[in-house]
Amino acid sequence: MKELVVISGKGGSGKTTMVAAMAQLSDNPVLCDADVDAADLHLILSPGVIETHDFMAGHTASINPERCNECGKCIELCRWNAISGDFVVDPVECEGCGVCYYFCEQGAIEFPENLSGHWYISESRFGPMVHARLGVAEENSGKLVTRVRQEGAKIAEAGSHDLVITDGPPGTGCPVIAAIGGAAGVLIVTEPSVSGRHDMERVIEVARHFSVPAMVCINKYDLNEAGADDIQRLVKKNNVTCVGLVPFDPAMTKSMVQAKTLFEYDPHAPACEAVRKVWEQVLNRLA
């Protein structure tokens, strides 16, 4: 079993639309949506949820005023300024370190585990799918990403699926690091903008840092052909393979609006052939 993780650095470069199209081209994949902050793949694949699981992670302190003698130790020790002068914990600021809970001599601090979100095992028209929803304003997105990938791998192994395709989060921090570790490869979907290029360079470095082979695909390349040429040179200089260029195609957005993949929406759309070629290259590289 191999896992391909699709990332971008910059958001909105077309990761999820590409993942949905590749899911259709792929033979019997398992699909994971590891963008747990703002998961969108289910909007195209409309999977039927089979199992819903609670995601418990981290703890949040709260102070029981009946036991609190206002000694002030918790305020003094809290590095997050999460406890107000009248001894109320701001759950958004609370880091869940438990220092106040540990040191409170009155036992006035409660420190329950959080229900931070949910994860789901579903069936989509292209194969099993694992996805999640992190509660808004929650932490531990990296842990939830790890859980989604672990469950995807389990399903792949139990059902003899050769490939897991994971829709990754934007950025370079905790959720991205959790999304790419141990993957067979990452496909970086970029765009020929100054920001697309800048963020691509950063995620190439992240992939290298964690020793995951990277490939790059330039989406909407014809919005700035000179910029796309620059990116290709840069990619080459970094010893990364450019697996293809996809033209700007309104069918990409229109298909999403109709909850279809690019190929379901219009198999003759200009982007289709390019995406097909990207997919062939990706499969070759993974093999």
């Binding site: 971008s8 650095g9 910059k10 958001g11 909105g12 470069s13 999820t16 902050d37 703002a38 969108d40 909007l43 703890h59 020790l77 590095r79 997050w80 958004v92 880091e95 869940g96 370190c97 438990g98 220092v99 540990y102 040191f103 992190l134 808004v136 304003a137 929650e138 932490e139 997105s141 990296g142 989060p169 934007p170 950025g171 370079t172 921090g173 905790c174 991205v176 690091i177 765009e191 020929p192 903008s193 100054v194 920001s195 697309g196 800048h198 963020d199 950063r202 470095e205 992240v206 840092h209 964690f210 919005l223 700035n224 910029g227 700007f248 309104p250 957005t253 999403m256 609006v257 909850a259």
Partner: protein, 282 residues
């Protein structure tokens, strides 16, 4: 006043809006890029960088000669950043959140505070406007402490525009919490709507007044506009899709500079936000 620009989904036009808004506010403005994982604002405003600060978080340093191996530090750490392996206390600085619990609990005074670099903050000037951004070190997981450091360098007596990271979890919270107004940028598609709903939930939890800009307002469906109307979120601006705008963006040209006709609309946007903030204050 601090105005933050955020979105659930990435790539909806946050940076376009933040740069054009700041450039329209005039010289006495600060522009702070808090998307420390993917900081892009500087690519559009080309600041002249003046100085750079290395940003660290506190991590424990164990003095083995004093350590009695009591294990209290291991017990208090919620993040598995300090563990006992074969009677030796080992630290994993990249897992440490810097809560200081181990240091506070150690009865032998064997734990000192060291530091771990998480990134840098760079300060600059562009056309008289203060610019600053954080850049998370490659391989570093924890963005929020760096974002909080960027925030702490904003002068509250001036007007500031913050470009926030995408998403709805801790990095966004760190970037927009306690700002006076948040401008949400969304595109009118099912992805845009789904992620806007999450972003609205986030700003409601933080109790920040919000307005909406619909970018590429004619590429999708009516879902976002209908939702905004239902939820009483003022639509501050609509920016239609225009290939020329997309191409100028690709080249790194701010909207109000590439298309000066937009400047008046952004000046108007500043005034609208001012009025909304004043109304709320009443």
């Amino acid at each position: 006043m601090i105005i933050s620009v955020a979105s659930g989904k990435g790539g909806t036009g946050k940076t376009t809006v933040a740069t054009s808004l700041a450039l329209s506010l005039g010289k006495d403005t600060q522009l702070a890029d808090c998307d420390v994982e993917a900081p892009n604002v500087h690519l559009f405003v080309h600041p002249e960088f003046r100085n750079e600060e290395i940003i660290t978080v506190p991590v424990p340093k164990v003095d083995e000669s004093r350590c009695t191996g009591c294990g209290k530090c291991v017990e208090i750490c919620r993040f598995n950043a300090i563990v006992n392996i074969a009677d030796t206390i080992m630290t994993f600085p990249e897992l440490c959140h810097g809560c200081g619990g181990c240091q506070a609990v150690c009865p032998a005074g064997a734990i000192e505070e060291g530091e771990r670099i998480i990134g840098v903050i760079q300060h600059g000037l562009c056309n008289g406007m203060d610019f600053l951004h954080g850049r998370l070190r490659i391989g570093e997981a924890m963005a929020p402490p760096l974002i909080r450091q960027v925030r702490s360098r904003i002068n509250p007596d001036k007007t500031a525009v913050i470009d926030a990271p995408p998403g709805t979890s801790c990095p966004v919270i760190a970037a927009i919490k306690d700002t006076d107004f948040v401008v949400l940028v969304a595109e009118p598609t099912p992805f845009g709507l789904n992620d806007l709903e999450l972003a609205i939930e986030t700003v409601k939890i933080l109790k920040i007044p919000a307005g909406l800009i619909i970018n590429r307002s004619d590429i999708g469906d009516m879902g976002v506009a209908d939702y905004a109307a239902r939820e009483n979120i003022p639509v501050l601006m609509e920016i239609p899709y225009d290939r020329n705008i997309a191409e100028a963006y690709c080249r790194g040209e701010p909207l109000v500079e590439a298309f000066p006709q937009w400047r008046r609309r952004f000046v108007r946007l500043c005034e609208d936000i001012d009025e909304l903030v004043a109304e709320i204050a009443l």
